[in-house]
Protein backbone atom coordinates (compact mmCIF):
# COMPACT_ATOMS: atom_id res chain seq x y z
CA UNK A 1 0.00 0.00 0.00
CA UNK A 2 2.77 2.34 0.96
CA UNK A 3 4.53 2.27 -2.37
CA UNK A 4 1.44 3.01 -4.41
CA UNK A 5 1.83 6.77 -5.04
CA UNK A 6 5.29 6.16 -6.47
CA UNK A 7 4.14 3.58 -8.97
CA UNK A 8 3.14 5.83 -11.88
CA UNK A 9 6.52 7.56 -11.77
CA UNK A 10 8.19 4.18 -11.70
CA UNK A 11 6.10 3.14 -14.66
CA UNK A 12 7.21 6.09 -16.77
CA UNK A 13 10.77 5.69 -15.53
CA UNK A 14 10.76 2.03 -16.53
CA UNK A 15 9.41 2.85 -19.95
CA UNK A 16 12.13 5.40 -20.51
CA UNK A 17 15.04 3.23 -19.41
CA UNK A 18 15.69 1.40 -22.72
CA UNK A 19 15.39 4.61 -24.75
CA UNK A 20 17.54 6.59 -22.31
CA UNK A 21 20.19 3.87 -22.32
CA UNK A 22 20.29 3.77 -26.10
CA UNK A 23 20.55 7.55 -26.31
CA UNK A 24 23.37 7.78 -23.78
CA UNK A 25 25.26 4.98 -25.56
CA UNK A 26 24.85 6.83 -28.87
CA UNK A 27 26.52 9.90 -27.37
CA UNK A 28 29.20 7.84 -25.61
CA UNK A 29 30.22 6.21 -28.88
CA UNK A 30 31.63 9.49 -30.23
CA UNK A 31 33.59 10.39 -27.09
CA UNK A 32 37.32 10.40 -27.82
CA UNK A 33 39.10 8.04 -25.42
CA UNK A 34 42.68 8.79 -26.36
CA UNK A 35 43.25 5.21 -27.51
CA UNK A 36 45.03 5.18 -30.87
CA UNK A 37 42.73 4.16 -33.69
CA UNK A 38 39.74 3.76 -31.36
CA UNK A 39 37.55 6.19 -33.31
CA UNK A 40 37.37 3.93 -36.35
CA UNK A 41 36.60 0.72 -34.51
CA UNK A 42 34.43 2.00 -31.66
CA UNK A 43 32.09 -0.85 -30.73
CA UNK A 44 28.55 -0.24 -31.89
CA UNK A 45 26.98 0.22 -28.43
CA UNK A 46 23.67 1.33 -29.91
CA UNK A 47 23.36 -1.98 -31.73
CA UNK A 48 23.82 -3.90 -28.46
CA UNK A 49 21.22 -1.81 -26.69
CA UNK A 50 18.62 -2.21 -29.44
CA UNK A 51 19.24 -5.96 -29.71
CA UNK A 52 18.92 -6.48 -25.97
CA UNK A 53 15.83 -4.37 -25.41
CA UNK A 54 14.08 -5.63 -28.53
CA UNK A 55 14.32 -9.12 -27.09
CA UNK A 56 13.38 -8.28 -23.50
CA UNK A 57 11.30 -5.09 -23.63
CA UNK A 58 10.28 -4.36 -27.23
CA UNK A 59 7.31 -2.34 -26.01
CA UNK A 60 9.66 0.14 -24.34
CA UNK A 61 11.82 0.70 -27.37
CA UNK A 62 9.45 1.54 -30.25
CA UNK A 63 10.44 2.05 -33.87
CA UNK A 64 10.29 5.82 -33.52
CA UNK A 65 12.95 5.84 -30.80
CA UNK A 66 15.14 3.48 -32.86
CA UNK A 67 14.77 5.78 -35.84
CA UNK A 68 15.58 8.95 -33.88
CA UNK A 69 18.63 7.44 -32.19
CA UNK A 70 19.87 6.17 -35.55
CA UNK A 71 19.47 9.62 -37.04
CA UNK A 72 21.31 11.17 -34.10
CA UNK A 73 24.18 8.74 -34.63
CA UNK A 74 24.42 9.76 -38.28
CA UNK A 75 24.35 13.45 -37.40
CA UNK A 76 26.95 13.02 -34.67
CA UNK A 77 29.33 10.83 -36.61
CA UNK A 78 29.21 12.62 -39.96
CA UNK A 79 28.24 9.34 -41.59
CA UNK A 80 25.95 9.29 -44.62
CA UNK A 81 22.59 10.44 -43.20
CA UNK A 82 19.80 7.88 -43.13
CA UNK A 83 22.01 4.79 -43.33
CA UNK A 84 22.09 4.05 -39.59
CA UNK A 85 18.33 4.50 -38.93
CA UNK A 86 17.66 2.32 -41.97
CA UNK A 87 19.92 -0.46 -40.69
CA UNK A 88 18.66 -0.20 -37.10
CA UNK A 89 14.99 -0.32 -38.13
CA UNK A 90 15.61 -3.47 -40.15
CA UNK A 91 17.55 -4.90 -37.20
CA UNK A 92 14.66 -4.27 -34.81
CA UNK A 93 12.10 -5.78 -37.19
CA UNK A 94 14.24 -8.87 -37.77
CA UNK A 95 15.01 -9.46 -34.10
CA UNK A 96 11.37 -8.84 -33.19
CA UNK A 97 10.23 -11.52 -35.65
CA UNK A 98 12.68 -14.00 -34.08
CA UNK A 99 11.97 -12.89 -30.55
CA UNK A 100 10.09 -16.05 -29.56
CA UNK A 101 13.15 -18.07 -30.42
CA UNK A 102 15.47 -15.93 -28.31
CA UNK A 103 13.40 -15.38 -25.16
CA UNK A 104 14.38 -17.76 -22.39
CA UNK A 105 17.41 -19.12 -24.22
CA UNK A 106 20.72 -19.24 -22.41
CA UNK A 107 23.35 -16.62 -22.96
CA UNK A 108 25.66 -18.31 -25.54
CA UNK A 109 22.74 -18.61 -27.94
CA UNK A 110 21.83 -14.95 -27.46
CA UNK A 111 25.45 -14.02 -27.98
CA UNK A 112 25.64 -16.12 -31.10
CA UNK A 113 22.47 -14.44 -32.34
CA UNK A 114 24.01 -11.05 -31.66
CA UNK A 115 27.17 -11.95 -33.56
CA UNK A 116 25.11 -12.93 -36.61
CA UNK A 117 23.00 -9.77 -36.33
CA UNK A 118 26.16 -7.64 -36.03
CA UNK A 119 27.66 -9.25 -39.11
CA UNK A 120 24.44 -8.67 -41.06
CA UNK A 121 24.07 -5.04 -39.94
CA UNK A 122 27.74 -4.32 -40.68
CA UNK A 123 27.43 -5.80 -44.15
CA UNK A 124 24.26 -3.79 -44.73
CA UNK A 125 25.83 -0.54 -43.53
CA UNK A 126 28.95 -1.16 -45.55
CA UNK A 127 27.06 -1.83 -48.78
CA UNK A 128 24.61 1.06 -48.32
CA UNK A 129 27.52 3.31 -47.38
CA UNK A 130 29.43 2.24 -50.50
CA UNK A 131 26.35 2.78 -52.63
CA UNK A 132 25.89 6.19 -51.07
CA UNK A 133 29.44 7.42 -51.55
CA UNK A 134 29.84 5.67 -54.90
CA UNK A 135 33.09 4.05 -53.80
CA UNK A 136 34.12 0.79 -52.21
CA UNK A 137 34.90 1.57 -48.58
CA UNK A 138 37.87 -0.08 -46.93
CA UNK A 139 36.23 -3.11 -45.29
CA UNK A 140 38.92 -3.62 -42.65
CA UNK A 141 37.68 -1.03 -40.16
CA UNK A 142 34.15 -2.37 -40.62
CA UNK A 143 35.28 -5.91 -39.85
CA UNK A 144 37.27 -4.80 -36.80
CA UNK A 145 34.32 -2.81 -35.55
CA UNK A 146 31.99 -5.77 -35.97
CA UNK A 147 34.37 -8.11 -34.12
CA UNK A 148 34.82 -5.62 -31.27
CA UNK A 149 31.07 -5.08 -31.07
CA UNK A 150 30.35 -8.80 -30.80
CA UNK A 151 33.16 -9.19 -28.26
CA UNK A 152 31.86 -6.40 -26.02
CA UNK A 153 28.27 -7.64 -25.99
CA UNK A 154 28.50 -9.81 -22.86
CA UNK A 155 29.59 -6.82 -20.74
CA UNK A 156 26.81 -4.55 -21.93
CA UNK A 157 24.28 -7.37 -21.83
CA UNK A 158 25.21 -8.03 -18.21
CA UNK A 159 24.80 -4.34 -17.39
CA UNK A 160 21.41 -4.21 -19.12
CA UNK A 161 20.21 -7.28 -17.25
CA UNK A 162 21.18 -5.72 -13.90
CA UNK A 163 19.23 -2.62 -14.81
CA UNK A 164 16.28 -4.69 -15.92
CA UNK A 165 16.29 -6.62 -12.65
CA UNK A 166 16.17 -3.36 -10.72
CA UNK A 167 13.39 -2.14 -13.00
CA UNK A 168 11.14 -5.13 -12.50
CA UNK A 169 11.73 -5.46 -8.79
Amino acid sequence: MKAKPVEPVDGIGQKLVPAAFTLVLAILSVIPLGIPGYAQVTPNFVLMSIYYWTIYRPDHLPYLVVFLVGLLVDLLTFGPPGVTPFALLILRATVLSQRRFFVGKNFPILWWGFAIVTAAVTLLMWSVGALYSGRLLDPRSFVFQAVLTAACYPVLSWAFSRVQRVMTR
Partner: protein, 296 residues
Protein backbone atom coordinates in the same frame (compact mmCIF):
# COMPACT_ATOMS: atom_id res chain seq x y z
CA UNK B 1 -6.77 -4.12 -29.65
CA UNK B 2 -3.76 -6.30 -30.35
CA UNK B 3 -4.22 -6.55 -34.14
CA UNK B 4 -4.82 -2.79 -34.27
CA UNK B 5 -1.62 -2.17 -32.35
CA UNK B 6 0.41 -4.49 -34.54
CA UNK B 7 -1.01 -2.83 -37.66
CA UNK B 8 0.00 0.56 -36.27
CA UNK B 9 3.45 -0.83 -35.53
CA UNK B 10 3.81 -2.21 -39.02
CA UNK B 11 2.74 1.13 -40.43
CA UNK B 12 5.25 2.98 -38.24
CA UNK B 13 7.95 0.58 -39.38
CA UNK B 14 7.26 1.03 -43.09
CA UNK B 15 6.89 4.80 -42.75
CA UNK B 16 10.16 5.17 -40.85
CA UNK B 17 12.09 2.92 -43.23
CA UNK B 18 10.80 5.00 -46.12
CA UNK B 19 11.73 8.15 -44.24
CA UNK B 20 15.28 6.83 -43.75
CA UNK B 21 15.57 6.15 -47.46
CA UNK B 22 14.17 9.62 -48.18
CA UNK B 23 16.81 11.15 -45.89
CA UNK B 24 19.50 9.21 -47.74
CA UNK B 25 18.24 10.54 -51.07
CA UNK B 26 17.88 14.10 -49.78
CA UNK B 27 21.30 13.94 -48.15
CA UNK B 28 22.81 12.80 -51.44
CA UNK B 29 20.98 15.43 -53.51
CA UNK B 30 21.10 18.45 -51.24
CA UNK B 31 23.95 18.31 -48.78
CA UNK B 32 23.36 21.79 -47.39
CA UNK B 33 20.07 20.95 -45.68
CA UNK B 34 21.54 17.95 -43.87
CA UNK B 35 24.60 20.04 -43.06
CA UNK B 36 22.40 22.68 -41.49
CA UNK B 37 20.60 20.15 -39.31
CA UNK B 38 23.88 18.50 -38.42
CA UNK B 39 25.44 21.81 -37.38
CA UNK B 40 22.47 22.63 -35.18
CA UNK B 41 22.55 19.19 -33.54
CA UNK B 42 26.25 19.50 -32.86
CA UNK B 43 25.72 22.96 -31.39
CA UNK B 44 23.10 21.66 -29.00
CA UNK B 45 25.16 18.64 -27.99
CA UNK B 46 28.52 20.42 -27.81
CA UNK B 47 28.17 21.39 -24.10
CA UNK B 48 27.15 17.81 -23.26
CA UNK B 49 30.06 16.34 -25.18
CA UNK B 50 32.42 18.87 -23.63
CA UNK B 51 31.28 17.92 -20.14
CA UNK B 52 31.61 14.19 -20.84
CA UNK B 53 35.03 14.45 -22.48
CA UNK B 54 36.46 16.46 -19.58
CA UNK B 55 36.85 13.51 -17.15
CA UNK B 56 38.02 11.26 -19.98
CA UNK B 57 40.68 13.80 -20.87
CA UNK B 58 41.65 14.09 -17.21
CA UNK B 59 42.03 10.32 -16.91
CA UNK B 60 44.14 10.18 -20.06
CA UNK B 61 46.29 12.97 -18.66
CA UNK B 62 46.85 11.05 -15.43
CA UNK B 63 47.99 7.99 -17.37
CA UNK B 64 50.29 10.16 -19.45
CA UNK B 65 51.68 11.79 -16.31
CA UNK B 66 52.48 8.48 -14.66
CA UNK B 67 54.10 7.25 -17.84
CA UNK B 68 56.19 10.41 -18.20
CA UNK B 69 57.31 10.20 -14.55
CA UNK B 70 58.94 6.85 -15.20
CA UNK B 71 60.85 8.26 -18.13
CA UNK B 72 61.72 11.59 -16.61
CA UNK B 73 65.47 11.21 -16.60
CA UNK B 74 65.82 9.99 -20.15
CA UNK B 75 63.31 12.55 -21.36
CA UNK B 76 65.27 15.32 -19.67
CA UNK B 77 68.51 14.25 -21.33
CA UNK B 78 66.82 14.09 -24.70
CA UNK B 79 65.26 17.51 -24.26
CA UNK B 80 68.58 19.04 -23.27
CA UNK B 81 70.20 17.83 -26.47
CA UNK B 82 67.20 18.89 -28.48
CA UNK B 83 67.21 22.30 -26.83
CA UNK B 84 70.84 22.84 -27.70
CA UNK B 85 70.12 21.99 -31.32
CA UNK B 86 67.05 24.22 -31.35
CA UNK B 87 68.98 27.16 -29.92
CA UNK B 88 71.20 26.95 -32.96
CA UNK B 89 68.19 26.85 -35.22
CA UNK B 90 66.77 29.84 -33.43
CA UNK B 91 69.89 31.78 -34.30
CA UNK B 92 69.52 30.70 -37.91
CA UNK B 93 65.84 31.64 -37.94
CA UNK B 94 66.53 35.08 -36.46
CA UNK B 95 69.21 35.76 -39.02
CA UNK B 96 66.97 34.58 -41.88
CA UNK B 97 64.06 36.60 -40.54
CA UNK B 98 66.22 39.72 -40.52
CA UNK B 99 67.51 38.97 -43.97
CA UNK B 100 63.97 38.29 -45.21
CA UNK B 101 62.53 41.51 -43.90
CA UNK B 102 65.47 43.37 -45.38
CA UNK B 103 64.90 41.77 -48.78
CA UNK B 104 61.16 42.41 -48.54
CA UNK B 105 61.74 46.10 -48.03
CA UNK B 106 64.06 46.06 -51.01
CA UNK B 107 61.49 44.32 -53.18
CA UNK B 108 58.51 46.35 -51.94
CA UNK B 109 56.86 43.00 -51.18
CA UNK B 110 53.23 42.94 -49.97
CA UNK B 111 53.04 40.55 -47.04
CA UNK B 112 50.24 37.98 -47.07
CA UNK B 113 47.40 38.34 -44.59
CA UNK B 114 48.50 37.94 -41.03
CA UNK B 115 48.13 34.52 -39.49
CA UNK B 116 46.32 33.78 -36.28
CA UNK B 117 45.29 30.59 -34.64
CA UNK B 118 42.97 29.38 -31.95
CA UNK B 119 43.32 26.24 -29.89
CA UNK B 120 40.43 23.82 -29.68
CA UNK B 121 39.74 20.57 -27.88
CA UNK B 122 38.41 17.46 -29.59
CA UNK B 123 34.99 16.65 -28.15
CA UNK B 124 33.84 14.07 -30.64
CA UNK B 125 35.22 11.50 -33.06
CA UNK B 126 33.74 9.73 -36.04
CA UNK B 127 32.83 6.76 -33.84
CA UNK B 128 32.71 4.41 -36.79
CA UNK B 129 34.27 3.29 -40.02
CA UNK B 130 32.44 5.59 -42.42
CA UNK B 131 34.54 8.69 -42.14
CA UNK B 132 37.54 10.27 -40.48
CA UNK B 133 36.60 13.47 -38.78
CA UNK B 134 36.67 15.28 -35.46
CA UNK B 135 34.27 17.54 -33.64
CA UNK B 136 35.92 20.44 -31.81
CA UNK B 137 34.62 22.84 -29.18
CA UNK B 138 35.10 26.00 -31.23
CA UNK B 139 32.65 27.63 -33.63
CA UNK B 140 31.70 30.90 -35.28
CA UNK B 141 31.60 32.50 -31.82
CA UNK B 142 35.36 31.94 -31.74
CA UNK B 143 35.78 33.25 -35.30
CA UNK B 144 36.15 29.80 -36.80
CA UNK B 145 35.15 29.67 -40.45
CA UNK B 146 34.84 27.02 -43.09
CA UNK B 147 37.98 26.16 -45.01
CA UNK B 148 40.45 27.01 -42.26
CA UNK B 149 43.41 24.70 -41.87
CA UNK B 150 43.72 22.57 -38.74
CA UNK B 151 47.06 21.43 -37.40
CA UNK B 152 48.32 19.59 -34.35
CA UNK B 153 51.82 19.01 -33.16
CA UNK B 154 54.01 19.14 -36.18
CA UNK B 155 51.62 18.66 -39.05
CA UNK B 156 48.41 19.29 -40.88
CA UNK B 157 45.35 17.42 -39.62
CA UNK B 158 42.70 18.62 -42.04
CA UNK B 159 40.35 21.48 -42.60
CA UNK B 160 37.15 22.85 -41.13
CA UNK B 161 34.15 21.69 -43.15
CA UNK B 162 31.15 22.55 -41.00
CA UNK B 163 30.83 25.30 -38.44
CA UNK B 164 28.16 25.88 -35.86
CA UNK B 165 28.12 28.50 -33.13
CA UNK B 166 29.91 26.37 -30.56
CA UNK B 167 31.26 23.41 -32.47
CA UNK B 168 32.99 22.74 -35.74
CA UNK B 169 33.69 19.64 -37.79
CA UNK B 170 37.19 18.92 -39.00
CA UNK B 171 37.59 16.69 -42.04
CA UNK B 172 40.88 14.84 -41.56
CA UNK B 173 43.36 14.40 -44.40
CA UNK B 174 42.75 10.65 -44.18
CA UNK B 175 39.02 10.93 -44.90
CA UNK B 176 37.58 9.51 -48.10
CA UNK B 177 36.49 12.99 -49.20
CA UNK B 178 39.69 14.85 -48.41
CA UNK B 179 41.77 16.25 -51.30
CA UNK B 180 44.70 18.51 -50.46
CA UNK B 181 47.00 20.13 -53.01
CA UNK B 182 50.55 19.32 -51.94
CA UNK B 183 54.09 19.47 -53.24
CA UNK B 184 57.26 17.53 -52.64
CA UNK B 185 59.40 19.70 -50.43
CA UNK B 186 62.54 20.73 -52.25
CA UNK B 187 61.66 20.12 -55.89
CA UNK B 188 58.20 21.76 -55.91
CA UNK B 189 56.55 18.97 -57.91
CA UNK B 190 52.79 19.15 -57.40
CA UNK B 191 50.40 16.37 -56.43
CA UNK B 192 47.10 15.83 -54.67
CA UNK B 193 46.93 14.12 -51.30
CA UNK B 194 43.82 11.96 -51.40
CA UNK B 195 42.41 10.30 -48.28
CA UNK B 196 40.70 6.90 -48.47
CA UNK B 197 39.77 6.22 -44.84
CA UNK B 198 43.05 4.41 -44.20
CA UNK B 199 45.77 5.71 -41.89
CA UNK B 200 48.04 6.66 -44.77
CA UNK B 201 46.57 8.93 -47.45
CA UNK B 202 47.59 8.43 -51.04
CA UNK B 203 49.58 10.76 -53.27
CA UNK B 204 47.61 11.13 -56.50
CA UNK B 205 48.04 13.00 -59.78
CA UNK B 206 51.81 12.85 -59.54
CA UNK B 207 53.55 14.15 -62.64
CA UNK B 208 55.11 11.55 -64.94
CA UNK B 209 58.62 12.87 -64.46
CA UNK B 210 58.36 13.48 -60.76
CA UNK B 211 61.04 11.74 -58.72
CA UNK B 212 59.77 10.60 -55.36
CA UNK B 213 61.87 8.83 -52.77
CA UNK B 214 60.97 7.22 -49.48
CA UNK B 215 61.15 9.75 -46.68
CA UNK B 216 60.54 12.81 -48.88
CA UNK B 217 58.77 15.58 -47.00
CA UNK B 218 55.35 16.52 -48.30
CA UNK B 219 54.06 20.05 -47.66
CA UNK B 220 51.00 21.97 -48.81
CA UNK B 221 51.46 23.66 -52.17
CA UNK B 222 49.06 26.51 -51.61
CA UNK B 223 47.35 25.78 -54.94
CA UNK B 224 43.68 26.63 -54.77
CA UNK B 225 44.35 29.20 -52.11
CA UNK B 226 42.83 27.25 -49.24
CA UNK B 227 46.03 26.45 -47.40
CA UNK B 228 49.17 28.55 -47.39
CA UNK B 229 52.16 26.95 -49.10
CA UNK B 230 54.67 25.08 -46.98
CA UNK B 231 52.58 23.63 -44.15
CA UNK B 232 54.16 20.29 -43.22
CA UNK B 233 51.89 17.33 -43.98
CA UNK B 234 53.93 14.14 -43.79
CA UNK B 235 56.62 11.97 -45.30
CA UNK B 236 56.53 9.42 -48.09
CA UNK B 237 56.14 6.10 -46.31
CA UNK B 238 55.73 3.60 -49.13
CA UNK B 239 56.03 3.52 -52.90
CA UNK B 240 54.39 0.61 -54.66
CA UNK B 241 54.27 1.39 -58.35
CA UNK B 242 51.80 4.24 -58.66
CA UNK B 243 50.52 3.75 -55.13
CA UNK B 244 52.41 6.28 -53.03
CA UNK B 245 51.43 6.51 -49.36
CA UNK B 246 52.11 9.33 -46.95
CA UNK B 247 52.68 8.99 -43.22
CA UNK B 248 51.23 12.17 -41.67
CA UNK B 249 53.42 14.10 -39.23
CA UNK B 250 50.51 14.58 -36.84
CA UNK B 251 49.33 11.55 -34.88
CA UNK B 252 45.83 11.45 -36.36
CA UNK B 253 44.72 8.45 -34.34
CA UNK B 254 44.98 10.31 -31.07
CA UNK B 255 44.33 14.03 -31.28
CA UNK B 256 43.30 15.86 -28.14
CA UNK B 257 44.12 19.50 -28.75
CA UNK B 258 44.55 21.16 -32.10
CA UNK B 259 45.09 24.55 -33.70
CA UNK B 260 42.70 26.08 -36.16
CA UNK B 261 44.78 28.36 -38.34
CA UNK B 262 43.41 31.25 -40.37
CA UNK B 263 45.57 32.66 -43.10
CA UNK B 264 42.96 35.04 -44.37
CA UNK B 265 42.61 32.98 -47.55
CA UNK B 266 39.16 32.38 -48.95
CA UNK B 267 40.50 30.22 -51.76
CA UNK B 268 38.63 28.64 -54.60
CA UNK B 269 35.75 27.42 -52.51
CA UNK B 270 32.47 28.86 -53.78
CA UNK B 271 31.55 32.09 -51.91
CA UNK B 272 28.59 30.50 -50.15
CA UNK B 273 30.80 27.69 -48.89
CA UNK B 274 32.95 30.22 -47.04
CA UNK B 275 30.56 32.22 -44.87
CA UNK B 276 32.21 35.34 -43.57
CA UNK B 277 31.91 35.45 -39.79
CA UNK B 278 29.54 38.16 -38.64
CA UNK B 279 31.66 38.95 -35.64
CA UNK B 280 34.87 40.91 -36.14
CA UNK B 281 37.29 38.59 -37.86
CA UNK B 282 40.00 38.62 -35.25
CA UNK B 283 39.03 37.91 -31.68
CA UNK B 284 39.57 41.22 -29.94
CA UNK B 285 42.34 40.58 -27.47
CA UNK B 286 40.39 37.54 -26.32
CA UNK B 287 41.46 38.24 -22.79
CA UNK B 288 38.95 35.80 -21.34
CA UNK B 289 40.25 32.80 -23.19
CA UNK B 290 43.92 33.55 -23.34
CA UNK B 291 44.56 30.89 -25.93
CA UNK B 292 43.90 32.75 -29.15
CA UNK B 293 46.25 35.25 -30.52
CA UNK B 294 48.15 36.37 -33.55
CA UNK B 295 51.32 34.51 -34.26
CA UNK B 296 54.33 36.60 -35.13
Amino acid sequence: MAPLKSAAQRFAYSALVLLSVAIMVIGRADGSLIEHIRTKTNDVLAPVLEAVTQPVAAATDVVAHVRSLTELYRENERLKTENAALMQWQQVARRLDNENSGLRTLMNYQPEGSIWFITGRVIGTSGGAFSRNLLINRGTLDSIAKGQAVAAGSGLIGRVTEVGDRAARVLMITDLNSRIPVQIDGNHDRAILAGDNTDRPQLAYVGAHTKINLGDRIVTSGDGGVFPPGMPVGTVASIDGGNIRIEPFADLSRVEYLRVVDFGLAGVLPPDAVPQPKAPKRPKGDAGKGEAGPTP
